[in-house]
Symmetry: none
Subunit: 225 residues, 2 copies
DNA sequence: TGAGGGCGTTAAGAACGCATCAAGATCCGT
DNA sequence: ACGGATCTTGATGCGTTCTTAACGCCCTCA
């Protein structure tokens, strides 16, 4: 689910945004001050941030800068001021859009859609992932191991697919379970152990000492390239 | 050189834009009608397009759609109309930004910079925090110390992650404990001491004299960049 | 100078996570 | 309905990680 963080101290607006965004399927976090916003972002990294420039404690531009220090999520700035230097400063600090109050909800939603649309690179990645002697062809739904093409069961393929879509990246237990089995199975880490054992037997040269299907104990698994 | 295509029939504005943009090192193409704009774009694919909605022959949204059919270059829409449905339509058609006339040249230039910045995948995706010989890759969930990649336990990674999301900033004991262990552990500063000792052993060259995992006595810890 | 608090370090047992195996249960095409 | 493949579930052994407690150090303050 797409996670949106709103940093604003305007209570009525906050409520309106929350209602509209949650109704459209976004998960919404809110913060009333700049500091609380940065803490919240650290706590739950957002996929998009909406930042009001007029905050009680710090200038909203500080929030933009703080987020840009580690996150590339799009940032939409809200402000009651038309002042051009302020707009320029906010955009150059790393904001992606600047909306002047008052604005219509539909416009803001459209701008959020536009920002998220270009945020996700639409999976332009190569359809075939190579990891040493292991290859995964996402388009063809085929995989090869050290001894050529491999026959995978549906669950095994699904698992491998999720890993291949995040090449080299660590994928947490929860994400794997949610994507393959569904949200209600998020605790069944046993499934992962069993099926990863089978996967390793099929496409690792030495299943006991895996080189590509790596376990990160307590966190998740990763397809090492 | 960055190539910008302007599709607008407002002659004075066109001249002003051309002067300002060329002065800043952009290569500028112009077209006075929608059809001419699409032809010009096909001739010299732009890195960014500025499209006025009020064109003599076709609605500017047609230009946006036409460009989006084959190009992913950012598109900034200009319009004299504040009408919200029009804004929504333009953004959903694939525009990246919407600027209402009259606007200041500095603002438009800032919005162009912002659009180009995210348009170029200059950094594909690297929320990587560098702190000297220590690096933390939040997306990959990987960390490296002076001797290359490091294996971290779940708790150690969680701690390091919180610090990395607040680069250079001081993070209080309470926040760390709440984030990693939960609100009811806010007083267990012992946990912090033990796990920070382990972290330092793994990624400080001289664990006894830490250079990056800094203690702020009585307050918290900080990831020194 | 002595007491106290915060910090770093260490060590040991408890708790947890992982790999593996094997036995049902379930799903599928024939 | 049958047989094979696949998935679920439980149990075991092993290694790792977390918790907890104890000790010594340094700094501050009385």
């Amino acid at each position: 689910m797409t996670r949106i963080l709103i940093v604003d101290d305007d209570e009525p607006l906050l409520r309106a945004l929350r209602v509209n965004l949650t109704a459209r399927g976004y998960q919404v976090d809110t913060a009333g001050t700049a500091k609380a916003g940065l803490v919240a972002a650290g706590h739950h990294p957002p996929d998009l941030a909406i930042v009001d420039l007029g905050l009680p404690d710090l200038d909203g531009i500080r929030v933009v800068e703080g987020l840009r220090g580690w996150s590339r999520a799009p940032i939409v700035v809200l402000s009651a001021r038309h002042s051009e230097p302020v707009k320029v400063a906010a955009l150059d600090a790393g904001a992606d859009d600047y909306v002047t109050k008052p604005f219509g909800m539909d416009e803001l939603l459209a701008r959020i859609r536009a920002a998220l649309r270009r945020g996700t690179p639409a999976v332009p990645d190569a359809p075939v992932i190579r990891a040493g002697e292991v290859t995964v062809d996402l388009a063809m739904k085929r995989a090869t191991g050290p001894d050529g093409e491999i026959r995978l069961t549906p669950t095994e393929w699904h698992l491998l697919e999720v890993l291949a879509r995040n090449p080299g990246r660590l994928v947490e237990h929860r994400q794997l379970l949610r994507e393959v089995w569904g949200p209600q199975y998020e605790t069944e880490t046993n499934y992962l152990r069993v099926h990863f054992a089978n996967l390793r037997r099929k496409l690792e040269r030495d299943p006991a000492r895996p080189r590509h299907l790596i376990t990160q104990p307590g966190i998740g698994y990763r397809l090492e390239l």
